[in-house]
């Protein structure tokens, strides 16, 4: 039976820029970066935790028609999403703010914990949640 979720996926407009952001600013690490010929298979994960990866996929032919790919690229900037967890939301927020990350919500207490929200360069929404102890 299915026993784990290993990959989730978000679309990005540029994979090098995605690495600059997800690795350079958010502090994830590249788990796979393979030129398969027809695509660049690029995944990132939490350092030391390769069992759960995010595929940073660039929309394009031949997976979809160039026309569809253009629509996906334009839709992308209107907002995919990811949720991460942290031990300390406020500290993470300060650190990332210092690295120039664009936040849409400051750390706020919620019923389920404290969280904040930001966007990657392409418009994907990312939440960082400190679960209630």
């Amino acid at each position: 039976m299915i026993n784990a979720i290993t990959h989730s996926q978000v679309y990005v407009l540029d994979q090098d820029e995605a690495v600059d952001f997800y690795v350079g600013r958010l502090g994830l690490e590249v788990t796979a970066d393979v030129d398969l010929g027809f695509m660049r298979w690029l995944t990132v994960s939490i350092p030391g935790h390769p069992e759960r990866q995010i595929l940073l996929e660039k929309p394009g032919a031949p997976a979809m028609s160039e026309e569809t790919a253009q629509q996906v690229r334009e839709l992308l900037t209107k907002g995919g999403s990811l949720i991460f967890s942290t031990d300390d939301c406020r500290k993470t927020y300060e650190t990332l703010l210092g690295r120039g990350v664009e936040f849409t919500e400051e750390p706020t207490d919620r019923p389920y914990g404290t969280d904040c929200a930001l966007r990657d360069p392409f418009g994907n929404s990312i939440r960082i949640t400190q679960p209630k102890a």
Binding site: E74, L76, K78, I83, T104, E105, R110, Y112, R127
Partner: protein, 159 residues
């Protein structure tokens, strides 16, 4: 004298190859321009979501979006399918719905908290958009444990 892109291509000579290549290049340029505009409009919309309780500040939003004030509303509507004013009204009503569900604040307090200028305007706008009065909504509402951005997006009252 060539007056448009298609004419420029023909003027250059090898019509078949150049035109196909040129159209592909132009499509790429137009596509990338649209992506960039969308991203910038999203940034302006995010700013509206943060400052929803304040009056709409088109000059500031236009600066964030790198468009002229005169064009901001039109481009916002083209990108998101509604005017900035309407988007803001629905955002305020959504926030009011949230507070009605999750807090004990009075409807009057909520009205001012989300940026409406009078309880009368608030009630009328709320009822137009949600289909029932703030008080009626509160009675039947159920609190939910959902990440805020999903609440903001999915519990938004429709047009």
């Amino acid at each position: 004298m060539p007056t448009g892109r298609a004419e420029l291509v023909e003027y250059r000579g090898d019509v078949t190859v150049d035109r196909a290549h040129r159209n592909h290049q132009l499509a790429g340029v137009v596509g990338r321009a649209a992506e960039q505009t969308n991203r910038r409009m999203l940034r302006a919309r995010d700013a509206m979501d943060r400052a929803y309780a304040q009056p709409l500040d088109v000059p500031a939003l236009a600066r964030i979006a790198h468009v002229s004030e005169a064009h901001f509303s039109r481009i916002f509507r083209a990108t998101f399918g509604e005017t900035p004013h309407r988007y803001l009204q629905r955002r305020r009503v959504e926030r009011a719905m949230f507070l009605l569900r999750e807090t004990d604040l009075s409807a009057t307090d909520i009205c001012f908290k989300v940026g409406f200028e009078s309880p009368g305007t608030f009630s009328r706008t709320f009822r137009d958009i949600v289909g029932r009065s703030p008080r009626a909504y509160r009675k039947e509402a159920v609190a939910r444990d959902v990440p805020m951005c999903f609440t903001m997006a999915w519990m938004r009252p429709s047009a």
